[in-house]
Symmetry: C2
Subunit: 208 residues, 2 copies
């Protein structure tokens, strides 16, 4: 069985797809902990156990690889958030979402930050295509938050005039800013505090 490759339109066997996936996964891991700039192609080769010709067979160089990593990480994050937020329709549900993120980040003492956020701040100014992809991913993520807020609205928990999209933006910013402060402090506390403040504001609108 063969399927089309997205970037060249070449045929792609199952074996080739597997190799490609291994490269992207290894690159994603390395770039998450070392940063994009400090991750060399040789690092990726060593980590994935793949030879140079294979990497250049699947990608035209580092930039395209980074874009593939963004797609890969983005898909995973969006999937995770869809699972976590897709059916939330209560304030306690939002708090449980917060708890899960905070606890997961606490395992690393805040290190490495948000998988999408760190990519975004490192790449947005250097690669316009990557920036657009990341921007799109943040929009999707934020839309999941907006969905929760709309369900709160439908149930009457939030007033009809609540500015859903702006609240979602504020919540997302609190999350990302919290990630970054936690990363710098190597302490998850500021992340917990900032999300709590955003949630407290949302809750304050609902008390009516």
């Amino acid at each position: 069985m063969t399927t089309a490759d997205s970037h060249t339109g070449r045929r792609l066997t199952a074996r080739g797809a597997k190799t490609r996936a291994r490269i992207v996964a290894a690159a994603a891991d390395l770039m998450y902990v070392k940063g994009v700039g400090d991750t060399t192609l040789d690092d990726v080769l060593a980590a994935s156990g793949v030879s140079k010709s294979q990497l250049y067979h699947h990608f035209d160089g580092k930039e395209p690889l980074v874009r593939a990593v963004i797609d890969h990480v983005g898909e995973r994050v969006i999937q995770r958030e869809r699972d976590a937020l897709g059916h939330v329709s209560t304030i306690p549900g939002l708090r449980r979402w917060r708890d899960a993120l905070v606890q997961s980040n606490a395992l690393r003492h805040g290190a490495y930050g948000c998988a999408l956020g760190t990519l975004a701040s490192e790449v947005s100014d250097q690669d316009e295509l990557a920036r657009q992809a990341l921007s799109q991913l943040f929009s999707e993520w934020q839309e999941l938050l907006a969905g929760v807020l709309r369900r709160l609205q439908d149930k009457g928990t939030l007033p009809a005039e609540a500015p859903i999209d702006q609240l979602a933006t504020g919540l997302m910013a609190a999350l990302q800013g919290g990630y970054m402060l936690a990363q710098t402090a190597r302490d998850v506390t500021p992340m917990a505090t900032s999300i709590d403040m955003a949630l407290a504001y949302i809750e304050s609108l609902s008390a009516g």
Copy 2:
């Protein structure tokens, strides 16, 4: 006249200090727009018009240079924020502070983000000393915000039981998260929105 150099304790003439400052300033500019990882020492030499021996005379390599850049940028940011926040004691004053940051960032359509924030997310996981310096700088910045909130408290605008430090953390996170979303979207709006949300929450505590 000679003065002591901080990193080697060597004598340092006025001329040497000037050269050192030129190197740091050029490196700071480059790292702000290109990122730390994409800024090479040769870039710094070209931009500062200084020769290699001079750079290695003043710094032991790239890491020490990055740390000097962090000190330099940190000093400028803290100075700016001290000027902007040092005497603010009203909500409208905080809004003017917000306006200044938003407008300044709008000039670049959000590109490059916060000078300290981008350094933090790029360097925190790679250089422990740099991370500590950045963490300290964020604390100082946040303390300036806390100072404003305490003055609001003293004037009775904020209730005595308001959790000043947590509010300052939340405001800082909103700011940093907003910077990052703006950088990714190349649109300053999310930054404005997220700070507004944090300020709205603070204001909601004051109405009493």
